[in-house]
Amino acid sequence: MAEVIIDNQVSVHGDNLGDSDRATRGQTADVKATLTEHSAAPLKAVPAEHSVKKAPRQAPKAQTVANKNNVFQLSAQRGVIFDKGIWKRSRRKPGYLIRRMAGYSIAETEYGVSYLWVLSRKPDRTTADNSVHPLAGYFNWKALEASGLLCKERKDDKRGKTDTATIAG
């Protein structure tokens, strides 16, 4: 901390050296001269009026960069949105996922989904007989959503990776 004595009356501490309001007319030059003597190199680039107040904020800015990195990691993790073995993207309801069931084929209609037991492939032969195949049946969209067989797909983070200000916020 630099201390400058002006006319043996006022003492100005180093923290306020850049504040020209503290010095009376004619004394500013002395203060600035002292500032140039004691100020470190990084402060030269910053305007004199704000240099003293901005210095303590340097540390939080460094943390913000770290947080941004964390956000990127989380976004990347969320990029793996769903397991394709368990969920299937709905064709009728974009943005929704339908739960798959092993051995069953999903047939979508405008009103809902039918789970059909697959008898054979190529050509596909299916059956909706639920006296043998317990999970076969038809459910409308509302029932599927209520039961957890349909869920909304988590979208990728729409915020652009270049838009760092938004991500930090």
Binding site: R99, M101, Y115, N130, S131, V132, P134, L135, G137, F139, N140, K142, A143, L144, A146, S147, G148, L149, C151
Partner: protein
């Protein structure tokens, strides 16, 4: 003595057994039909009811004739009780 409130963790439907999910879907379809939100085909309600009966009894949704009979029996019983209640003068 402190009153300890037991907190039940929320059920994540996505983690449930497939049959449980299907059972809930059948239940939802029945509720929608009862509320008039969904118009079922003839016999559909009985089928779903039989499936749920089987699932509750055995833990499996494989419907057999016994389940269908039981579902019919429950309906008969419920309709009889309902008729008895409606004939009572104090019935709301």
């Amino acid at each position: 003595m402190t009153n300890e409130v037991k907190q039940i963790p929320p059920l994540l439907l996505a983690d449930s057994d497939e049959q449980t999910l299907v059972a809930l879907a059948h239940l939802s379809m029945l509720a929608q039909a009862a509320n008039g939100e969904y118009r079922p085909r003839p016999g559909e309600i009985e089928q779903r009811q039989a499936w749920l009966t089987s699932f509750i009894r055995t833990g499996q949704g494989i419907v057999n004739e016994a389940d269908r009979q039981l579902a019919r029996g429950i309906n008969t019983l419920l309709s009889t009780q309902s008729a008895m209640l409606s004939t009572q003068p104090d019935a709301a």
